[in-house]
């Protein structure tokens, strides 16, 4: 579904080339929970941005459903993210002037979205607090709202960038579990430095210094799922 072939992402720091990702070959398969594991600064988030179209590769290619992301213009990439992908970021970014349910429906619009958002919040245990503002919610609750927002509209892929970073272990595990449980038939790509958060992953790849472990091939860790 998503295929990265020799994808690299280069930043320029005072004119010096810095590889955030280097020659990554990776495939995200339909319906799988793919974990990307690596220490801080290993380029996990950069890889996630490449796979999700938030960044375009400096070299190599990332393709979604056979279409190269590099060939899409900014608007087409935005449309792809809005319609086909869901996102959960490290910080539970919510719009402070919107209620929980309004924050969820930001990902799409219409009355049907409202009904789906309400159902999702119910399933995530947030039904009672759906009309509260973010400042009235705890960190874990806010992240659950973010999970609902990512799951709204049954996206083909949900990208989660260290979604447990701002939470304690119990809350973090619960968020990952909810993400995995409610993603339906869509894939889940989750980046983390904590292997215990990937207990439910179908497949895990490790990243070090912008490169997948074992040369340029993904190190696939059998998880039993």
């Amino acid at each position: 579904m998503i295929q990265a072939r020799g994808a690299s992402l280069v930043y320029y720091d005072h004119g010096r080339e810095v590889f955030a990702c280097r020659n990554v070959d990776l495939e995200v398969r339909p319906g799988e929970f793919l974990g990307i594991l690596g220490p801080s600064g290993s380029g996990k988030s950069s890889l996630l941005y490449l796979l999700s179209g938030l960044k375009t590769p400096s070299s190599g290619d990332v393709a979604f459903d056979g279409r190269s992301v590099g060939d899409l213009n900014d608007e087409e990439r935005s449309k792809m993210r809005l319609n086909d992908f869901g996102f959960v970021f490290q910080q539970p970014f919510l719009l402070g002037y919107l209620t929980a349910i309004e924050n969820v429906t930001v990902a799409t619009v219409g009355k049907a979205a409202y009904e789906e958002a309400r159902e999702l919040l119910d399933r995530l245990g947030m039904g009672e607090k759906s009309h509260r503002y973010p400042h009235e919610l705890s960190g874990g609750e806010r992240q659950r709202v973010c999970v609902a927002r990512a799951l709204l509209g049954d996206p083909m892929v949900v990208f989660a960038d260290e979604p447990t970073a701002s939470l304690d272990h119990a809350n973090g595990s619960q968020v990952v579990h909810l993400l995995n449980q409610h993603r339906g038939s869509g894939s889940l790509v989750m980046v983390t430095h904590d292997p215990s958060m990937l207990a439910e992953a179908d497949r895990i790849v490790e990243l070090n210094d912008g490169m997948l472990a074992s040369g340029h091939q993904a190190t696939e860790v059998a998880t039993g799922h």
Binding site: L54, F93, E102, D161
Partner: protein, 397 residues
């Protein structure tokens, strides 16, 4: 039952807001503490500009109102040789291109009226009794409190605005030997007040003939309709150009007024232009701060999949709502303030002020246009190279 209805209403409202969480009005309403100061700045700017222009405009407007009696008659006065009045009369009778409803020979004395920029001269017409009645009728002054001045008596009739302006009542002196601005060798008492909006001062011609210097008779020519009056005025301007006669016509008054205020309005343009520029720069800076506070929101929405164009459209719509809202509130407030100024400061002295002066409100138009341009430019510059990843990685937060 009532509780159920209330709950249903609240749910419907919640559904509506959740169905359109990114509607432009949502941010404005939910962040009224941030949007209200922006609206207030625009409102005050509009209030300031409309107020200044309306007050400036009240000066030429006063001239038009005070001397509007000249719309009803053409005045022709001899120059150099006061005996030429009958000759001028013959010319008018023979050559006038429109029917003449009445041709009046009169005398004039001068008095003064007050304006917001000082004292202005005003004519005290000396008329025969039957001409006086006709003149008052033409100026809607048939209804009189008191009576007409008697032949040869030191008496005068004024209209209601003149009475208010000069603080005159029946029995007051319109002209007096001790008043250098409103001089006459005898005390000319007000004996009647005409209830018309026109500014009028009339006395009997015999009194002026006996007591007023210089001894010059002049003509008042009345055409049957305003259109014919206008044609008569223009004819007289051309016919008597270069001759020993002076013409008094409304269109000449308008022309002189426009010429007189041309430079003043140019100065006003510069002042208003500078003011708009200052307000625009200030609003541009405020908008920039306003948008800076929303970087996380823009970054998040862009990361989720909203295009720069969609975000720009939304922010532009928000700016339009704020700017148009501030402008409209400013217009209403300016109108309200001008009404109050008119009622409390101007009307008691019959000073003219038009609270619905179109020029004043037209002058406010550059404010919303310039602020909108500054707002859109600010937002566009911000969005041009905006990277949502910087926000989601918390580098720009």
């Amino acid at each position: 039952m009532q509780a159920e209805t209330t709950l249903a209403g609240a749910n419907a409202k919640a559904t509506k807001s959740a169905s359109r969480p990114l509607a432009a009005y949502m941010y404005l309403l939910r962040n009224i503490g941030k949007t209200a100061p922006l609206i207030a700045v625009i409102t005050l700017a509009v209030l300031l500009v409309a107020g200044i222009v309306a007050l400036m405009d009240s000066i030429p407007y006063s001239i038009r109102v005070i001397y509007s009696y000249s719309k009803t008659a053409l005045g022709i006065s001899p120059r150099w040789d006061p005996t030429q009045t009958p000759a001028l009369r013959s010319v008018v009778i023979k050559e006038c291109p429109v029917p003449i409803e009445r041709l009046v020979t009169c005398r004039a004395s001068s008095a003064q009226v007050k304006s917001i920029v000082g004292k202005w001269p005003f004519v005290v017409l000396g008329l025969h009794q039957n001409d006086m009645l006709y003149y008052l009728h033409r100026l809607d002054g048939d209804k009189i409190v008191g009576r007409l001045p008697k032949p040869g008596a030191a008496e005068a009739l004024v209209s209601e605005p003149v009475a208010r302006n000069r603080g005159l009542k029946i029995g007051s002196d319109l002209l007096s030997p001790t008043d250098t601005d409103n001089y006459s060798p005898y005390h000319v008492k007000v004996v009647g007040i005409a209830e018309t909006k026109e500014w009028i001062m009339v006395t009997d011609i015999e009194y002026l003939e006996a007591n007023q210097f210089p001894a010059v008779n002049f003509l008042l020519v009345f055409a049957p309709t305003p259109q014919q009056q206008g044609k008569l005025d223009h004819w007289a301007e051309k016919r008597f150009k270069g001759s020993h006669a002076q013409i008094f016509a409304y269109h000449l008054l308008e022309k002189d007024t426009n010429d007189m205020f041309k430079i003043l309005y140019k100065i006003l343009d510069v002042v208003i232009g500078t003011l708009v520029l200052v307000i625009t720069i200030m609003m541009g800076m405020l908008m920039n701060i306003y948008q800076s506070q929303r970087l996380v929101e823009f970054g998040l929405l862009q990361a989720l999949g909203y295009t720069k164009r969609q975000l720009l459209r939304r922010v532009t719509l928000e700016a339009v709502l704020v700017i148009v809202g501030g402008w409209v509130v400013g217009l209403f407030m300016a109108y309200g303030l001008l009404l109050v100024v008119k009622a409390t400061l101007m009307d008691p002295s019959a000073f003219s002020l038009n609270p619905f002066d179109p020029t004043a409100y037209t002058y406010t138009l550059p404010i919303p246009i310039a602020i909108f341009a500054a707002a859109v430019l600010t937002v566009w510059l911000r969005f041009r190279n905006f990277d949502p990843v910087g926000v989601v990685e918390r580098r720009l937060v």
